[in-house]
Symmetry: C2
């Protein structure tokens, strides 16, 4: 494998000159540049990233941190959506993605993650930092690693989505369809901060319409499809006259739809069901789900662009994305 030194010899210059040409930093003439680049091609030279990392502290690696607290990270297509946006941007800029899925407790985060953070191996971090019990950004605060947060724990740089508005629009949608007997399929409030904001939006929309939110029945799942079905089952046993379910993500909505069909009733004729996140399956589910589009790939991409701005010494403003209500066929009038 060719080294910088080999390129230098072939081009008839010093290693510093080769390094300057490759990084396009002053000074070199055009004829020197051409000789160097010809040598690079002839030798098939590729920089050793470990040496570069050691010498310059730059690794061309971005860590994407998805806390592994519930099953979501490897079950939720939402994860892939965010990665899709991040990957497109990183690849375009010649960076690599290191995927980190730390386990969390109230006291902290696993040792493996801590070692990664301190390893000198990461130029920057994009985190989906949404677990209430602990912020994966906590160990990073005393480091100088640039971070962009797609979650809602406090962070200097972030790309958020307006979960409150999403919750508000979902509830408003059902209320405008005439529903008042609405079951809420939620998750425990120590599972996910975004979910908590969605609940606040649900509450606000209910209150704005003069509906007593606290009187609405709630069941807590864990974002999984099966938990959505179980919640729907529980709610319908306790409140057989419910005419709608509002679910905090699409997968629980799909579970709810499945349960409703299983007991011989129909969505949306008998019970409307709405979800959140607009995962790919939402559009082709039967019936296609009414949901909130939170623009996951776009947020992934823009978080990555923000991170590169920070890496380049800029000071980008935080971004809060609006969400869009996507009305499909799983909701209708009472």
């Amino acid at each position: 494998m060719a080294k910088l030194e080999d390129v230098a010899k072939r081009a008839g210059v010093s290693t510093a000159t080769v390094s300057k040409v490759l990084s396009n930093t002053p000074y070199f003439t055009e004829s020197t540049r051409q000789r160097v680049m010809r040598a690079v091609e002839e030798l098939g030279y590729v920089p050793n990233l470990a040496a570069r990392a050691l010498a310059a502290g730059k690794t061309s690696i971005i860590a994407v941190v998805f806390p592994h607290v519930y099953d979501g990270v490897f079950q939720d297509p939402h994860t892939l959506h965010i990665l899709q946006g991040i990957e497109a941007e990183c690849t375009q800029r010649g960076y690599n993605i290191l995927l980190s899925t730390p386990r969390l407790t109230p006291d902290g985060v696993d040792e493996h993650y801590l070692r990664l953070i301190q390893s000198g191996y990461i130029d920057g971090i994009i985190a989906l930092d949404n677990v209430p019990i602990y912020s994966v950004l906590e160990p990073i605060r005393s480091k100088s690693i640039p971070v962009v947060n797609l979650g809602t724990h406090p962070s200097e740089h972030y790309v958020h989505t307006n979960d409150y508005s999403g919750g508000f629009q979902l509830m408003q949608h059902l209320l405008e369809l005439g529903h008042r007997a609405i079951g809420i399929i939620s998750v425990p409030n120590d599972l996910n901060l975004s979910a908590n904001h969605r609940m606040e939006g649900l509450r606000a929309a209910a209150q704005a319409a003069g509906v007593d939110f606290d009187a609405l029945p709630i069941a807590e799942g864990d974002f999984s499809i099966t938990s959505g079905a179980a919640c729907a089952d529980l709610l319908l046993q306790q409140f057989p006259t419910l005419t709608a379910f509002v679910c905090l993500n699409d997968r629980m909505a799909m579970g709810a739809v499945q349960l409703v069909h299983r007991i011989g009733r129909r969505v949306p004729d008998d019970i409307s069901v709405v979800g959140y996140d607009d995962i790919p399956m939402a559009a082709v589910f039967d019936p296609p789900l009414t949901t909130i589009d939170a623009h996951a790939p776009t947020r992934g991409r823009d978080a990555t662009r923000m991170l590169f701005d920070v890496l380049n010494g800029k000071f980008p403003d935080p971004v809060v994305y609006p969400v869009d209500l996507i009305v499909r066929e799983s909701s209708t009038h009472t």
Copy 2:
């Protein structure tokens, strides 16, 4: 940030001794070990992985290579399933996952991937190498990077699934239910080697039952849900009396189911639909899909264990997993 040298000073030994203690290589006394470990903890020392990579050629990073030829890598829950198994094993062994999604052409692979391969940044590679036009392992063959292939391009070390048997069982299942008017929803044969093997299994089962496989109508999608719906639509227009669809993945099966319902017919009453891969949604789709379980998380985990065996100088045998037919509610007698 503490360096090895700081630990050495605090423990009153040389840096070589600290390195020996941390890597547990000969020789050191127990009292030396304890003094070193106390210093490590007091200083919060974490090895600089770039320096270690440069000095020893070991990076604690595994590259997971998912070629990005169709939408699948970021749309297919199967991707997440494989990653789930890989991640569990890597994290347990203190390794990190670098996610690489190279773009392919018949002539080769993108520059970014080539740079990664040659960067000295990867201890080993796990590849889902299934795209017929080019093998992502090709640029690696002249390198000494250990590789385990989850796809079906030739590789010294591999964990495969028996796609042929899966195809065979799917077709056999439908034939045993009495179906003969079977539409096949496939993909172009230059898209995915596993799909090609599944087709061969379909053909073999048909021939074993005395059914003229070439007389069966075929439409080609691209593994996406929408293409599955489009294929079902096309096939039903041309062959309205079809009683079954066999689809080469679950997402196309879901699209087919959606299309059948959309034209007012029912699955499986009017048309049976079977898929492949058993993605999480398959079990809760309406109706739940009959499919082939190809054990994605297990294969991810075992591919990773195999890679670590190779990294540790062992010579593991390749593994070919059986697949399992999962009969659910989307298929029934004609």
